[in-house]
Symmetry: C2
Subunit: 324 residues, 2 copies
């Protein structure tokens, strides 16, 4: 994994990805006590950064591999990112989703042209099902984060940060990233190592699911006791990846840990001050900037808001509690 | 009023305004039956396009005029646009607002450094109060739409549309614009006349407040019976302007008229598919594209979403009714 792979991914993504801006608000700066520059990947195609990695991985396949098709496991953002990339690259996509995934996410993934295969979380072995399908149909598995081309694709967000912050004269800042398995975090860290070496990436996780923060402290991979559940489901994984963790361990500053309730508060702030929709996990880096300012240093902080695929009911809850 | 003024406004706005993108979603295209490209001015500073006109007008004043300060009447978006532009240009701003305006809007305008003077809608004459203040303090009145430099500022959104649509190969399309007094509509129409002459601007208004649509039919200024009220308050004015109407009459296609309820539906679609927050009046052009496709022609339609300053309660209502 190196900057050359990220630059190559950026070349393949050019004209297909949205270059998301850095948004600011004087009201947000006042709460945070410093200037906050927010990169809204919720505005990316399919509503999260996952389209970057999906496109990067699929566009790196051989013609024969693309013709044969791809396979992904996902209940959410990765499914949609892979499905849209596959549709636009004329690649058959098979997505294995839990049968109890929200109907809207299943419908969206199908509407993007993917074949969705549902499995029973309690009684079926997802990995065995995937291996069988992959072998029978000759499909290439696209892992959600522990895949070099996926990491390279997510890293293109880091190239944009270096360029756009640099244009504002900002070369030194902490960069807070919503963190699950570490694909986005490690990709951005690699991009900034090359393009903005005075910036430091800091992963942000929900309370109770702070496997990356603990792994960064102990310098070895630690696991969460719980592997699912909670409002921040989109960024919850059991442990950091075999490829992503060594990158994070070498390049990242200490992890930040945020309460779910603060994610809801940050969603309401993003609604009111930036007019964007964030999902709880996608708001967690903003929540860290707003509500843990003493754990951050510098006059400027960059926040990556990773996604906005939230149910209307959860969004309405955030507004009801914190919307005025 | 001509393209030279809009180009000059764009030069003054460079580095200060957000160049908003053109957003798309395959799900929105499917509802609308054609490709929809949405320009989210909700993501503009202060949450609406009004910052363009405010900055354009203030930056066109002489040094002496700027030092003396500016005056605006507004209960909403124009107030915030003028206040932020004034703050950044070190100009004192006095904003006259109705005493029953939402507290959050009064607080926001004050937080942007403006002096807010409240008046009693029932018993005080706003114009007389403004004239008195203007004379006593030597303030320059910044009208919300019937001001050439304000129109030129709003027209910079049209320059961006011509450039960004052109880069996608789109030179012929209807451009639907949320329309109140016509500042944004006439400014965009002038910009497109020069830069994308095969595009046609069409104003969109709420039912019961279709003064512009009627005026375009009769070729003279018609008034609304009601001058305030309704969910689309941000774009409700009693009549088109003396400067804006002749421009619209010369350049625009027929007006479109949309039910309030369809604005709420469009807000929910923008939430779900684009991850942006729109106010009812700011969603009305999208509502026209989604729910009146038979009144529009062409394979592509461009929609300008003018603002996102909506109370949490109204947004939650849209989600509750149409969010799933």
């Amino acid at each position: 994994m190196n900057i050359t792979m990220i630059e190559a991914a950026a070349d393949r993504l050019a004209g297909h990805v949205r270059h998301t801006p850095l948004l600011t608000s004087p009201f947000i700066d006042e709460i945070a006590g410093r200037r906050v520059l927010l990169k809204p990947e919720a505005l990316q195609h399919t509503g999260s950064f996952k389209f970057r990695g999906g496109w990067s991985a699929l566009s790196a396949l051989t013609e024969a591999e693309r013709r044969a098709g791809v396979l992904a496991f996902s209940s959410g953002n990765h499914a949609q990112g892979v499905a849209l990339a596959a549709q636009r690259l004329n690649t058959p996509a098979t997505i294995i989703m839990p049968g109890d995934a929200p109907k809207i996410k299943i419908d969206n993934t199908r509407a993007l042209g993917a074949e969705v295969i549902l499995y029973d979380r309690a009684h079926e072995d997802r990995d065995a099902l995937g291996a069988k399908l992959s072998e029978e149909r000759g499909l290439t598995l696209i892992k959600p984060f522990d895949n070099p081309e996926v990491i390279a694709g997510q890293g293109t967000a880091g190239l944009e940060i270096a360029a756009d912050a640099g244009a504002l004269g900002i070369t030194r800042a902490e960069v807070l990233v919503c963190c699950g398995g570490g694909g986005l975090t490690s990709g951005i860290a690699l991009a900034l190592e090359a393009r903005a070496p005075e910036m430091t990436v800091r992963p942000v996780e929900p309370e109770g699911y702070d496997d990356v923060a603990r792994s960064l402290r102990s310098h070895r991979i630690e696991c969460n006791e719980m592997s699912a559940g909670g409002l921040c489901d989109a960024i919850i994984t059991q442990r950091p990846g075999e490829i992503t963790f060594p990158i994070m361990d070498r390049l990242c500053g200490p992890g930040l840990v945020v309460a779910e309730e603060d994610c809801l508060r940050a969603m309401a702030v993003a609604f009111q001050r930036l007019k964007i929709v964030l999902e709880p996990g996608g708001a967690i880096a903003l929540a860290a900037a707003l509500y843990h300012p003493d754990q951050i240093s510098g006059d400027d902080v960059i926040v990556v808001a990773s996604g906005g695929n939230v149910d209307a009911g959860v969004f309405a809850l955030a507004l009801e509690r914190y919307g005025s």
